[in-house]
């Protein structure tokens, strides 16, 4: 038995406070979130340095080597053109994760800005932004992205644009209602009475307040973007051959599932699954830590 020091007691009472405490709780607060953080980190490291370390070219054809089962030389086997599936997995993962990250960041910027403006300014600006968001929300998200890619030409970046467009209202509507909630609070009125300009009000008082919502949404949109990008790639509207991308790799593997070469489609799908699942767990954990009112049993 050891004696509990006052400092330890204090820490036990308020286990995590301060910026790093919250971050630690976000990433490692529960066993589930620890696993999710680990899996995402592993995936990120693999797709970042993996292509260099592995050294095989994801687009080099080698017909003599086609449809090989997983082995030490090809941990994920080879596809119908003899390309190394592991090299394609890494290259495709890089593209998918970077594109999803860009979608999540730019949707947060555009949607967040629109939401805060709509909530803070109100009136006609709010109405116009609201109608625009309604028009986007009238489409099932995947089909809006399909429309954009069909109209502008298939490719990863048009697909990303379509997904981005669909994700903007999620941020905008949530941040608008958050902004509305604080806009008329006394401390904002006090700051205004002291002569604070609008820009300062937004920067000092509104943005910190809406940050938790923004972060939770950010995680959710990232996972959703990974799923949607793969979906569009699967349909044939995302990355075009011979570029490696998880969704299109699954589509290429489709015709070989029943002839026994399952590895072509199953491994890239596993990548999508891990990325989306880990992000979903982290988003849940964020919602719990940053907004204790929302609890999920």
């Amino acid at each position: 038995m050891s004696l509990a020091l006052p400092a330890d007691l204090e820490r036990a009472a308020a286990p995590d406070s301060g910026r790093f405490g919250i971050l630690r709780q976000l990433l490692f607060g529960t066993p589930g979130s620890t696993i999710a953080t680990g899996a995402l980190a592993l995936l990120a490291i693999a797709v970042t340095i993996g292509p260099l370390a592995w050294g095989k070219n994801p687009t080099t054809l080698n017909i003599l080597n086609a449809l090989q089962a997983p082995s030490w030389a090809h941990p994920m086997g080879t596809d119908e053109n003899g390309r190394d599936v592991f090299a394609r997995f890494l290259a495709g993962g890089w593209l998918s994760l970077i594109a999803a990250l860009l979608v999540a960041v730019s949707a947060a910027l555009v949607g967040g800005l629109l939401g805060v403006i709509a909530g803070f300014v109100g009136g006609i600006v709010d109405a116009v932004i609201g109608r625009f968001m309604d028009a986007i929300l009238a489409f099932p998200a995947l089909l809006l992205a399909v429309a954009v890619t069909v109209g502008l030409g298939a490719g990863v970046w048009t697909a990303a644009l379509g997904i981005l467009l669909g994700a903007i209202p999620w941020y905008a509507l949530l941040l608008r209602s958050d902004t509305l909630r604080v806009r008329n609070r006394a401390y904002i009125e006090a700051a205004r009475a002291l002569g604070a300009r609008r820009a300062l009000l937004v920067r000092r008082h509104i943005i910190p307040h809406v940050m938790p919502t923004l972060l939770v949404q950010f995680a959710a949109v990232f996972g959703y973007a990974v799923l949607m990008l793969a979906g569009l790639g699967f349909i044939g509207l995302g990355a075009q051959p011979p570029t490696a991308e998880w969704g299109s790799m699954i589509a290429e593997g489709l015709q070989y599932t029943l002839t026994g070469q399952w590895w072509i489609g199953v491994f890239p799908g596993l990548g999508v699954f891990i990325a989306a699942c880990a992000t979903a767990v982290l988003a849940d954990q964020m919602a719990k830590v940053l907004d204790p009112r929302r609890t999920e049993g």
Binding site: A141, L142, L152, I235, G247, L254, A276
Partner: protein, 337 residues
Amino acid sequence: MRFFISRLVGGVASIFGASVLGFIFLRLLPANPTRLLLGPLASPAAVRALRLQMGLNRSVPVQYWDYISQFFRGSWGYSYIYGRTVRELIASRLPASLELELCAFAIALFFTLLLALLTTYRPHRFLSGLTRGLALFGQSTPVFWLALVSLVVFVSWLKILPGPNGQLSAGITPPPVTTGMVLIDSLLAGDLTAFWNACEHLVLPAVVLSLPSFGFLVRLLRANLLDVAHEPFLLVARGRGLSRWKTYSRHALPNAALPTLTASGLLLAQMLAGSVFVETIFNWPGVGALVVNSVSNEDYSVVQAFVLLSACAYVVLNVLIDLLSGVLDPRVRRRAA
């Protein structure tokens, strides 16, 4: 009354907005919208003729009016791959899609009710964990990957289900078409062999398609049930001598079901998106597989019609759900008015 009118007007406004967006992306922004409709093989003369016919040299509002009035009159263009009008094509493919989607919905709903009730009626650690895990799995697994893995496991390894060859095996005579849904048609014809075969073909795609909806629904219903569980009126009901189950089924469940109903418009979006993938992988002769096939053949008139149609269906359903929850719950009406 004001509530109903405002909801209807809102719905019309949404469809208008969606049609403008569709017009911008499918007609205004493409460098050559006629190519999109006629396909890569059309002759320059045909492209020029359609250009004139579509009035691409006229002003944007006139073009928009043409575009939208044609759509609502039901002339959705012509598929050059199938050699039929898009309307015929979609109508002929719709029953198979509906069959699959209704079954998937039924499965999702059944397991949602079962697991949400079981895990909230009495706290059960293992079942709660299982439900949460399943919900997470369903919501974040790409359906197309799940479909692929299920094929590998059940068809290729275990060999207990037939391969992905549509609604019936090759050797089975299809029943006479009355509804277009093989399950019902074979029952109507009294053909049990075909019925059983159709069931075997349906189970895998339907379960795969139901998983995302299940994940979404069960999380929502559980959260709502747990929210309601702390309400004082439940304590009052118990205090008045109602049994635990009666309190639960008469008071807790209806109150938790309403918010769940409101969000179920999203289910349609999930089903539409999911069916595109699942039908393709299982060679299901529905609209979703048609759309993917059209994309790979650059037969875009089918895709364009499908996109706008699903936007309309989505808006109409959401308006209906809004109206229904207004009918069921007076508070919704009052809040809106």
